[in-house]
C-alpha cells in the first residue's frame, strides 16, 4: 500500500494546545510548518459530530494581528489600498471577509478583518490570515502602512474554533452571552472565566465561534469547553471535508496568485463603492472580468459514480475537450458521496453541465452542481 504524502526536514512549530492533542490521542501531521492534529477518533465521525452537535478545532497556526493607528479612518484607508472591501463602511464589532490582491488581480491570501469596538488595548482593526501565508501577508501589509499606523503580531494568542449547531449553547454554558451576536460580528467577553475575543464565524458552514485567547489560558479554556458533553475535538481532516461541503475556498488549492476573485466566484467581496472607484490592486483585470465574464469559473462538481476525484484531476467535456482541473475533491460524509470543486471554461460552468473527470486515466462522468453542497446554517 502506498499513499502519497510529502514530508520535509524542517523543525515543526507547536501550538499552545499541542499537549492536549497528544494527550487525546490525535494523529499529528506537519501542516504549514506546524505539527497539527489531522484526526482524533476518525475523520468521518468527527465530521458528522460537528454537523450534529459541536466540535472544537485548534486553529492557532493561523496568523492573528492587530492594527493600531491615529484613527479608524486612517487604518481603514490603509487596508483599502490592499483589498477590495469596504472598510470605511465596516461598523465597530463587525467582520468582513476579504482578500489581499496582487497588481495582476490574483489573490495573495484571503482573510478576516474585524473592526474593533475601541476598547482599551484593542487594535482598531484585527486580522486573521492563513497559516501558510502569514509571514508574507503581514510583511506585505506592514510595507503599505502609512506613518503612525503599526501592525502587532499577536503571537501570544491562540485561536480556538467552536463549530456546530450546539456551539452557541456551549458558549452560554461557559458564561458567554452568545445570544445577542449574529454571524460576522465580534466582541470581547469571558468564557469559563477566561478573557477572550470572540467572532461569530467559521469555516464549516455551521453556526460557530472563533475564540482568540492568551496562550497561557488556551489549554484550560479548551479543556473546559471539551468537558461539555456535546463537544469533541476535531482535526484538520474533518475541517477540510466540512469546508468543502460548505463550498468554501482553501487558499493554495482553490485560490492563489493566479486566480482572480471573479474567476473564484468571490465577487461578493468586491464592494460596490470600490468597484465604482476601481481603486484596489488588480482593478484593471477584475473590472474587465466583471464586465465581460472571466475565461474560467470555479464551480461545484458532483461525480456521478462513487470514485472521489482529488485535487489536480483533469476535467474534460463530454466530447473529451480539456476544460480545467479539480482544485479540491474528496468524500462528503454528510452526503455519503464524492464532491469536488474546480475551474472550468466559462461555457461549461452552468449547473448541470456534463463533465468527464480523468481519475486514474479513465473518464468518469460528473456534472456541474451548485454550491454549497450542504446548506449554510449561519445565525443571521
Amino acid at each position: 500500500m502506498t499513499t502519497s504524502s510529502s514530508t520535509h526536514g524542517e523543525a515543526l512549530a507547536r501550538t499552545a494546545l499541542h499537549g492536549l492533542h497528544a494527550a487525546r490521542g490525535a494523529r499529528l501531521v506537519p501542516f504549514a510548518g506546524y505539527e497539527m492534529p489531522v484526526q482524533y477518533e476518525g475523520i468521518l465521525a468527527e465530521h458528522l459530530h460537528v454537523r450534529a452537535a459541536a466540535g472544537l478545532f485548534d486553529v492557532s497556526h493561523m496568523g492573528q494581528a492587530s492594527l493600531f493607528g491615529p484613527g479608524d479612518e486612517t487604518v481603514a484607508r490603509a487596508l483599502e489600498a490592499l483589498m477590495p472591501g469596504d472598510f470605511l463602511g465596516l461598523k465597530p464589532g463587525f467582520i468582513r471577509y476579504s482578500m489581499l490582491l496582487s497588481d495582476a488581480g490574483g489573490i495573495y491570501d484571503d482573510l478576516m478583518v474585524t473592526r474593533g469596538r475601541g476598547e482599551p488595548g484593542e487594535g482598531r482593526y484585527l486580522l486573521v490570515v492563513n497559516a501558510a501565508r502569514k509571514s508574507f501577508d503581514l510583511a506585505h501589509i506592514e510595507a503599505a502602512l502609512p506613518k503612525g499606523v503599526t501592525l502587532v503580531r499577536e503571537e501570544e494568542r491562540a485561536l480556538i474554533a467552536l463549530q456546530g449547531p450546539k456551539a452557541a449553547a456551549v458558549m452560554e454554558a461557559g458564561g458567554f452571552a452568545a445570544a445577542p451576536m449574529v454571524f460576522m460580528t465580534a466582541r470581547r467577553g469571558s468564557v469559563h472565566g477566561v478573557p477572550v475575543s470572540v467572532s461569530r464565524s467559521g469555516y464549516t458552514g455551521e453556526d460557530g465561534f472563533e475564540i482568540s485567547v492568551p496562550v497561557g489560558e488556551a489549554t484550560r479554556l479548551a479543556e473546559a469547553l471539551l468537558a461539555h458533553p456535546d463537544v469533541k475535538p476535531i482535526g484538520l481532516g474533518a475541517r477540510d471535508s466540512l469546508r468543502l461541503e460548505a463550498g468554501l475556498c482553501l487558499y493554495g488549492s482553490d485560490i492563489d496568485e493566479t486566480t482572480s476573485p471573479v474567476e473564484a466566484g468571490l465577487t461578493f467581496a468586491l464592494s460596490k463603492r470600490r468597484r465604482e472607484a476601481g481603486d484596489f490592486p488588480g482593478a484593471a483585470r477584475i473590472l474587465k472580468e466583471l464586465e465581460e465574464g472571466p475565461a474560467r469559473l470555479r464551480v461545484g462538481i458532483l461525480p456521478d459514480g462513487p470514485a472521489p476525484a482529488r485535487a489536480h484531476t483533469e476535467i474534460r467535456g463530454e466530447d473529451g475537450a480539456p476544460l480545467g482541473e479539480v482544485t479540491s475533491g474528496g468524500y462528503a460524509p454528510s452526503l455519503s458521496r464524492p464532491i469536488a470543486m474546480g475551474y472550468v471554461a466559462r461555457g461549461a460552468a452552468a449547473d448541470g453541465t456534463p463533465l468527464a473527470l480523468m481519475v486514474r486515466d479513465r473518464a468518469r462522468a460528473a456534472h456541474v452542481a451548485p454550491m454549497p453542497f450542504v446548506p449554510h446554517r449561519y445565525r443571521r
Partner: protein
C-alpha cells in the same frame, strides 16, 4: 497459510487460489475507507504491481498484488459497504481472489510472526 507484504497487504492461500486484502495496521493508517476500486475478473496482475485502489476521506492509496495471477473474483460487498475494510480487514474486508501463477513468489513474503515484528518496528 497467510503471508504479508511490507506494504501491508495480506494473502491467504487456498489451494491454487489466493485471497488478498490489507492488514488492520493499513486500515488504521488509512482511516475511514469510503471507496475501493477493484479490478475486473480476468485481469492479470503481477506480483507487487497495482491491483486495486483504496480511498479514505483524505487520500487515495494503491494496493499491490502480493502474488501474481489472474483475478477470479472481487469482494462485491465493498461497493455498498467499503467500511468493511476498517471493521474486518482480515475477513469480510477482503479485496480480491487470484488464481496464483507461481507459488514460488510466496517465498518473497513475510510470515505472520515476521510481519508482526516488522509492524512493531515502524
Amino acid at each position: 497459510m497467510i503471508k504479508f507484504t511490507d506494504q501491508h497487504e495480506w494473502v491467504r492461500v487456498e489451494g491454487e487460489e489466493a485471497v488478498v486484502g490489507i492488514t488492520p495496521y493499513a486500515a488504521e493508517q488509512l482511516g475511514d475507507v469510503v471507496f475501493v476500486e477493484l479490478p475486473e475478473a480476468g485481469r492479470k496482475v503481477d506480483q507487487f504491481k497495482e491491483a486495486a485502489v483504496v480511498e479514505s476521506v483524505k487520500a487515495a492509496s494503491e494496493i499491490y498484488a502480493p502474488v501474481g495471477g489472474e483475478v477470479v473474483a472481487v469482494n462485491a460487498a465493498l461497493a455498498e459497504t467499503p467500511g468493511l475494510v476498517n471493521e474486518d480487514a482480515l475477513g469480510k474486508g477482503w479485496f480480491l481472489k487470484l488464481r496464483i501463477r507461481d507459488k514460488g513468489e510466496l517465498d518473497k513474503l513475510m510470515s505472520a510472526e515476521e510481519y508482526e515484528t516488522y509492524v512493531k518496528g515502524l
